[in-house]
Every structure is written in structure tokens, then in C-alpha cells.
Symmetry: D2
Subunit: 344 residues, 4 copies
């Protein structure tokens, strides 16, 4: 099937812009024909920036007035379930950003909705398509570092998340909005599901940022025990200020593997010997995972064209949500939480 | 102009494959409609691999039977002049690989041919589009490291070049075929033309590779004095075996800037403490400059669409050839050569 | 006081050898005049290797037959209390290896013993003297990365610890024997004491190593909450096989600081482009902290000469033991442990 | 022989201070008993700083009034010949800083003087004792990177050398005073002598520094052809401002080896994502080669104690001077110079 895949972008914010740029500039065979956002100002700005011809205030409107093959959902988490199901029910393939949804019930609804409608559902875990993660996973699978004993993953983001993203009523907070990728990465690389988690959090910058959301935290470390017996650690700081930092270390019975680094472009400068060597850091997630975003979108388009199941879908999205729920419960109750308590 | 730019790929070898992959996978708005190669076996293999519908044994045949907007010339250097001029005369825009041609007369013919025909001519100096080089150039221009005093550039390639590429009768040898990029980079970053060069070469692997070409060398270092008074150094080793290594160091009155590195993917492994830490090296030039190839092709397509002069063209290609000719003369005559002797 | 400080080395094993080499080769103003070990074979081998003239099977024998100013205690943890107190009671200054002792009572006995005798007591936390840790601490103190929010410290050692060091009856296991340095480092760098810890452990290599010690683990991660509100993480793997890996990351309100690296000597080699770049890793702790061992011993000698209190002593040793006890209790009881439960 | 070796330090300037600190702090078995400098202010300051009891304005005075075993000569190059010969004639072992002397005749006088007197002569090529150079040399000798084809060595120093060090009448300039180490390193690592050199120099900062010395240059690149057929490059910038930068790259038939790096302490910080990662650079030569200075002094002391010939002596010092003389002649005459012209 060589026809161009027509996309409706849902959400005109930062993530929507990033995927629009990626599709426009690096994904031949796709075309963003429509964009949806209830906020007219954002809608028009993003549509103009990326030359998207059709602009709508709701998915329903888009479905009624425009033809397309797939949606890319980049809106806040609480909207995911309904948007995904609506799109699926109209026969549109669904690319869905993380976190998949607010709870396991919503995750199940989405997965069931896509399956019933016979459309493809891909979750936005772009790290699985980032070349260094792909290579690392493949080398781990090949046994290069032996049996996996420990996986540590960190994601620190530069800025304060929006209000909805730190309120437990509308989101599961930083562990969901920022660390979803870590939840997916450690499970994927360990090759085993979480069994027990314990969370410590801290709030260092909330006051200065006038955040009075209950349970707000900007630092978190989660200890994980996997079903395999392996250990894991996820940590996050947001806002960390210093850049977008996403690194993983995997320890196997035969050795260590480090995935990712802080350094961005290979340019090293020194103009002051009292300061020292200076090299770029990844400033933002679009920079850090530029290739991951390209390859996940190429995968999505290719899965549609070849009618193939995406390699990362609702099952993975649901597990990440389960981890987040357990870790949040641990934070609230100050005790280790087994996944049984969440999955039951 | 939003129409798709139709390309005829000339040359089905390694470079032709690389540009075909780049255009197909990462350059929306372009389409390779034809490919030309006199060797049927290569022609069909590459055409099949990249789904190119029309296959021809000569540019003339392609021009007669197929419609396209531009050519990408990837054939051996001695063919460049005639192919470029023929394409230009038929109104096709020309993307021309380095080295531009065998001598300055041929370079002038090509530049004049493109200008007369009113088509765009872009030279294949992809480093100028590689993000770390782009950033470095911009920071140098902004004065970050002051006045440029010294530039060193090296390119070492893994394998033995083909026979035509090491015979002075059909090519200017390694300094042209491998180090053309260094010639362009040092001139670009220094912001000044070469004034004098001195070359030392060595032949360490010729015998083992059964190379009996006269004047064959596989190691070279060229000292350069620029018109600005600055100093430069270009070195090359081919075959070096250990990877594709392309790095530049620039020294300004205010400090140092290193551009590029040997390390490829950000994956570090240790499974043996007697061996130590192991990380990927760039194995080949398509790996090392993957982004450079994408962005130079996007630039070419965009220049055609917007009728803009490409940022790197015949003038730059001619200077690189002049440097190579001076350095080769220095090698043959064992003395420093001023560019006056070449440009007169 | 310019006289040479006379040392009695207690313990002729790996640590005793390391300190003997350090004192002999890099610490002018000191002289090892005696060595003590109950195992004659080790005693003579080490004494011969380092030219130590007087050899004894017990500290008591040494005290009776030889004159010296100080002892360096490098024997297994269960012997620390009695050796340290005996030496102090005879007016000898005490350099005591970590872990300080098996429990807080023993720690208190040692501190009290040294104080009563008026001798100096220095704990073997050499990281506090390792140049990169010294610089990091000083820069943190100067506020360079702001208020400290999170500290992560890991130590992975290549080989299986001896039997006594993994039995809870004679040692507090890996968290004590290997990770004592991490306990000290995170408290020192955070500038706050531990408040609560939670431990996960795993046993991946015990079986293959024929270890049947109860509660044996070779992988551990400890979550820490500090009194300051800051978070911490300590992890250890032993035997990890791949080298001696000790690294710390500190996150402050203004940024990140990484202390230490895996790479040893600045020699990078590539001879195989399929393998990639290879550089040395620190193979062992004597390699990794060579400078730390020199400077801690110079500090000890200098404190004796100038009658100055060592910068790291019993107070710090006791806190590291308290952390280990809490973390071990957490492991045994599968729940977070507050330090109150240990310190009460 | 276990007696303490008594040293007379000749020269109370930067190099004299550096060796005094090294001997005092890290070389058991040695003692600086006297120091010589004609400038009383420097003499007393350095003597006080390092607790050196006997201070003299001339070597002759020291020889008459004080007993010692060896001298460490750190004075300007023009004084080397007479000081070394005088010391040797009085039976003192000689540690002599680079460059060995101003010309080959002086070098021969020194070597002959030491040999006649039966004393040991060690040249101050501390890189041969720096652990990463030692390891690299040993690995090259073991054949790890095959036959050596190319060696590049650079030394850039932060500050302007003193007036005597840039005047061809009293010194051979930067190529001698700063790059002597490179001359020694490339010859040592290549395992072959220089056959031909060609030099380009530039003067970028002389005017701003009010330097009107004839032939002054602050940037230089030298191309080298070795007797083995291998190629080499030496470059220097002084003052470079940005730190003390000394790195070598060696290319063999089997691969590449990089020796040394710019990064100093393993501390990486980021507090500003627009600036990026910052890590220390070696600021000065005492920092960069701290270990090299320790081990070369330990070697010298040990050679005296065991009556062993130092591993680097007059023969090596003479070759470095020959290289400098050839490169300087090339600069003055704008042509490649064969070593025959210098050695005849």
C-alpha cells in the first residue's frame, strides 16, 4: 500500500507540535490533514506553523468534516480514554501518548475499543525506537551482559509540569507524566513485571513555584522488585532546571550497560581554564529523543500501511499505569506496595 | 511550490544507495523516479532495494525517456564534468558529489554550465549540514573562541578505495577521494583560503593489498598556511580498518573547539575488567554523517522548491580541488607549494 | 614535630598490603616498623614484600616488643573494637578501617576509648580525601548546585567477599563491607543524617558461588529519606565481575553534579570497528582510590605530627553503621525503617 | 642502599617549586637539603615554602658548603651545560630539565661530562613516567595496534613564556621550551628517529603581548617523516589561554590509540542548560602531569640507590634538541629540512 497516510493531530500543544514537526520533516508517506484543539489560539498557531489545512475544535467535528486514516492523541491524560475510543469507533488508527490513561479501567477500555474496531493502537513510548535503546535491548536479548539483575532509570525534566499534571485528581503526577517512560523502559529491559514498589518523594521547589497542590512532589525515587527477582530503581526530578536528562543503567550477571548520556552535540569548548570544558546538554525532550520520535512515527505509519500490529501497545501502556498507581499508593501510605494490590 | 521534486539518481554504488535511502526515508517532498548506472547488475539491485521504477544505462537515455527535476551525481570523479553539464543543459538541477572534478578547468566548466542553464548546483559537502558542524560554525562566527589561529581536520576511512580512486590518472587519490571534506571544512571554519601546503605521505598497507599503483599512499599529513596567517593540518589514513573517523579541532585566540567524536551510539558496556569499557565507534560514513546526509538533501530539495541558491556550490568545490592539486604536487616534488602555482 | 611517625600495621591481607604500599611509596615522614597477623604465611609474605622488619602474631605481642606511634587496623570487622581499644589504651593513635564495628555499642566503646586515652582516631573513609570528592564537596558547600535534593551513590565490587563478610553473625554483609563508603558519602554530601531507609535485595550469584549463608544477597538498593527532607539511594553489587565501580550523583536545586567515573587511564583504543572504542575501567579499589589512600594516610600522619583531630572519625563511622543496621533490618522485615528504631 | 638521597635543587622558579613539592610530599627516601638561585627573593621564598634549610646563590657555593648526592637542574636552557658539567665533575648525579641544551655540541658535552664522572644523568621527560603514557607505550610494544604509521602530539600551554624562552639567541623558542616533550614522545612511541621536518608558524598574540622578539611565533605545526617511513605531527600554541593541553594520537596498522585527555578531575556539573555540561580541564602542567613528576623523581632516586642507568638520558635529550633545530631551520628557510643537515 503506497498511498499517503492521512493524520489528524489531536492537541496543538508542545507534544502536538513536536509530532507535527516530526511527521512533516522526516516521515515520507504521511500527511497531517487536520488538527484539533479546543483552544483556538493554540489551534491556529500550530496549524499555521506546520501548514495543516483543516482546523477543528473537537475530534467529533473533525470526524464529521474531514477524511483521515489515523489520529495522534497528544492531549492531557484525562481525555485519553474518550478520544481514543471515539477515534477507534470511527475506524481510525490510534497513536496515543503516555501515560495511557488515569487508571487500569480506562486502559482496558481503550485496548478493548481498538481491538473491537479493528484498528491499530500504538503507545508513545519513543524510547523503544531510539537507536541507542534499540541497540541496547537487542544486545541484552543476545545475552551480552547475562541475566539482568538490576535496572536503574532516571528522567529529570527542566520545567514545572502544568497544573493538571500534578494534581492527583486529574493525573497521577510526576511519576506518571514524566516517568512513564522509565516505567516502560525498566520493565522492557528487565523482561519482567514489577512485583513490589516503594516510593520516597520530596518537595523542594513547590513553594517557590507557588504550588499548593496536595501531595505535590518534585523529587521521587522508587525502589522496584521484579517478578524475576531482579531489582530496579526509577527516579525523577521536575523541574530540575539543568536540562532533559534520561539515562538507564542495566546490570547483568556478566556486566554493566549504560544507555544514553547527558551530552548532546559532539562539540566541546574551553575558553576559560578556571571554568573548564563545556559541551552541550540535551535541553529538552524533543532534542533528546529526536530520533526516537522519528522512528516511532515511521513505525506507526508503516504498521498502518502493512497492517501490522505496532510493537508497543495497550498492554505496555497498562503496565506503566499499574506501576505508577502502586508507586503513588506507596507514597501516600508510606509502605511498600505489591502489584497484587493494584492489579486485583 | 508544494509539488514533489522528482529525482534521477546517477550511480547505483555505495554513495547512490546512501542517498537513495536518505531521500526515501527522511525527505518528504522528494521522489526518486529514475536511476542510472551502466552496470546492469548494480542498477537493478539498487533500483529494487529502493523501489525506483525507471532504470537506465545512461543519463542520455534517462533524459529521453523520463521526466524529472534534478539529478544526484554519485559516479566516479572523471565522469562528473560531462554528467553535470549534460544534466544542466537539459534544465535539471544538479547535486554533485565530491570531489567536484579532476582539475580546475573541469570545475569551471561545471559551474559555468549550471549558471548558463539557470539550474542550481549543490556540492556534496554534507558536513556543512551535520548538526555539530552547523553549531560549531555558528559559534565560531559568533566569536566564541575568538580569531581562528589553527584548524586540524582528519578523516580516516575503514577500507581500501577502489582502483580508479587511487590512480593519479583517474583521480587525485586519497587526499581527494577521502579528504575532500577536510579541505572544505578547514577552509570554511578558518574563513580563509589556503596559501601554502606541504605534504608527507606513507604507504604502509599497499603491498599487503597488492596495490602497485604509482604514487600510492595510504597515510598523509598536509600542513597548511592560510591567507589569514592561520595554520591548518589535514590528515588521512585509508584503509585504517578501525572505523570511520572524522574529527576537527579549531583553536582560536580565546580557546579550543572540538567538533565530532569517535563514539557512536551512547551505549557503554563492560563485561571484562581486563578489557575495560567498550562503546560503539562509527563504523562507516553513512553512520557517521547520517544526519548530515538528511539535511543536505532536504536543503537541496528546498532550494529547488524555493528557487534559492544552495549554500555550498561550485566555488567551494573548486577550492577543495585546488587544495588537493597543491598537496599532490607537494607530495610529488617534496617541497611546499603555494596556491599561486595552482591557481595561475 | 619533624620526627618520623612509626606505624604498626595490623592485618596482612589485601587492605593491609594496600596501606603498606601507600605508606612506603607515597608518605614521607612515616615508617612501618611492625606488622601483626595471626596467620604466619600472610604475615611473612606481606612483611617481606614491604620490607617491614618486625612481625608479630598479635597486637599484644607487638605492644610488648616494639615501639611505635600508631596502628593501622585492617582486620575483619568483629576484631575492630578490641584492637582499637587496646591500641588506644597503650597510647597509640588509631587508623581504623570501615566498617567501624558491628553495632553502635562497639562504635561507642571505640570512640570513648580513643577519647579517654587522648589518642587520635581516624576512620578509613578515603573517599573524603580523593581529589574529585574533595573538590565536589567544596563546590557543593560553596552553593554551586544549590540546596541538595537527592544523592545517589553506588559501589559495585568485582569479587565475592570472604565468608565472614557475608554472614550476619560476623558482619553486616555487603551493605556494610562494600557500601560503608556510600553510607558515609551520601550523609557527608547531603549534609544531613538518614531518617528512614527501605531496602530491596537479590541473590543472583550465590548458588553458582556455593554460598549458603542465610540472608545472603549480592544485589541491593536502599532508598533513603534524610532529616533535611532530601532523598538518597545506595546500591551495591558484589561480585559484579566487571570492575570496581564507585560513582555518585548529586542533584541540587540549581543543577546536577557527577562525581567519579568508570574510566581509568586516559588511553582509548580501537582495533576493531565491530567492537568499538575500548578504554580501561578501574579494576580494583586500590586502583580506583589510589590518590584517596595516599591523602588519607598523609592526613593521618599529619594529624599525629601536628596533634590535630582527623577530619573523619568515630562520629562518622557510627552513623555509617547505623545506616547499615537500619537497612539490614528493613531487608529482614520488608518494611521501611526509621533511624529512631536503631538509635533509640 | 637505604640511606636518604640528598638533593640540591638548582633553580627556585616554577619548575624548581614543582619538583620541590613533589620530592617533599611524594618521594620517601629523598631530602632536599639545599637550593640554589641567584635571585635572592625567589631563593628565599621557595626555600621557605618547602622548608629547605640551605640556600645559595650559586652551585659553586653549594658544592663548597653543603653535602648532597644529586642535583635537580631547573634553570633556563642556556645554563644547562655548565651547571650539569660542574655538578657531574663534583660527583653529583644529575636530573636535568628539558630542553637538554641549546645545541648538539652542548648536549654532547653534558653526556660526556656525566659519563666521565661516573654519575647518572636523567632528562626531565616526565611523560615517559606518566601512567597513561607508560601503559600506552607498553601496549604499543606488545603490538596491540600493529606497526606504527602515524603519531600526532600536541602541547598547548596557557601563558606566554618568559622573554629568554622566545629569543632564538637564548633559546630555541616555543618548539623547544614547550614542545620538547612532544619531540621526545613521538620519537619514543614511533620507535624511530626523525628524518625530515617541515614547519609552519604563526604569530597571533605577539602584538597584544608587546612581544617584538624577531621570529616570535605562538602557533606552530611541524610535519615529520620518520626513518621508519612513518609520519608525525607536532603542534603547539603558547599562550593558548584555555589550559594545559597535552594529547597524543597514535595510528598503527591495526588501529588507533589516544593518549591523554583534556578533562581533569572526574566531576561533571550542569547548572544551566543553555551552557551545558562543565568539567574541569587541566589548568597547568603541574596538574596535568602530577603523577609523571612523582614517578620520574622516584625513578631518579631509585636509580641512584640501586646504581642503575635512568631509562631516559642524554641520548634522548639530544634527539629532541636535533628535532627542534631542524624544525627551527625549516621555519627560517621555508623548506623541509632533513635531519642530515643538522646531525652532520
Amino acid at each position: 500500500m503506497n498511498k499517503t497516510i492521512k493524520i489528524c493531530m489531536i492537541g496543538a500543544g508542545r507534544v502536538g507540535k513536536n509530532h507535527s514537526r516530526t511527521l512533516n520533516c522526516f516521515v515520507p508517506g504521511s500527511e497531517i490533514v487536520a488538527i484539533v484543539d479546543p483552544v483556538t489560539e493554540f489551534l491556529l498557531a500550530t496549524a499555521d506553523e506546520f501548514g495543516i489545512p483543516n482546523r477543528y475544535s473537537s475530534l467529533e467535528e473533525a470526524l464529521g468534516k474531514c477524511e483521515f486514516d489515523a489520529v495522534v492523541i497528544t492531549t492531557p491524560t484525562p481525555t485519553h480514554r474518550d478520544l481514543a475510543i471515539t477515534a477507534a469507533n470511527h475506524g481510525k488508527h490510534v497513536f496515543l501518548e503516555k501515560p495511557m490513561a488515569l487508571n487500569l479501567k480506562e486502559c482496558d477500555d481503550i485496548t478493548h475499543g481498538a481491538k473491537s474496531a479493528g484498528v491499530h493502537l500504538q503507545l508513545g513510548f519513543m524510547r523503544r525506537f531510539s537507536p541507542e535503546f534499540v541497540a541496547a535491548y537487542s544486545r541484552i536479548q543476545a545475552g551480552e551482559i547475562g541475566e539482568i539483575m538490576m535496572v536503574k532509570s532516571l528522567t529529570n525534566g527542566p520545567g514545572l509540569p502544568p497544573a493538571w499534571a500534578r494534581d492527583l485528581a486529574t493525573s497521577n503526577g510526576m511519576l506518571a507524566e514524566v516517568n512513564s517512560h522509565d516505567w516502560d523502559s525498566v520493565r522492557w529491559l528487565m523482561g519482567s513485571n514489577y512485583q513490589r514498589v516503594f516510593t520516597e518523594v520530596a518537595n523542594f521547589k513547590g513553594k517557590a513555584n507557588n504550588v499548593d497542590t496536595p501531595h505535590f512532589y518534585d523529587n521521587a525515587i522508587v525502589n522496584i522488585k521484579f517478578e524475576s527477582g531482579g531489582l530496579g530503581s526509577i527516579s525523577g526530578i521536575c523541574p530540575c532546571g539543568y536540562g532533559y536528562d534520561a539515562r538507564v543503567e542495566v546490570y547483568g550477571s556478566l556486566g554493566i550497560m549504560q544507555i544514553g548520556q547527558m551530552q548532546g552535540q559532539a562539540v566541546v569548548v574551553c575558553t576559560n581554564r578556571d571554568q573548564g570544558l563545556v559541551s552541550p546538554i540535551f535541553r529538552t525532550w524533543p532534542e533528546r529523543f529526536a530520533n526516537g520520535y522519528i522512528f516511532e512515527m515511521q513505525h506507526f505509519i508503516n504498521c498502518i500501511k502493512t497492517d501490522t500490529e505496532p510493537s508497543v501497545g495497550g498492554f505496555d501502556g497498562r503496565w506503566a499505569v499499574a506501576g505508577v498507581l502502586a508507586a503513588t499508593k506507596s507514597m501516600l501510605e508510606n509502605r511498600p506496595i505489591t502489584l497484587d494490590e493494584i492489579l486485583k
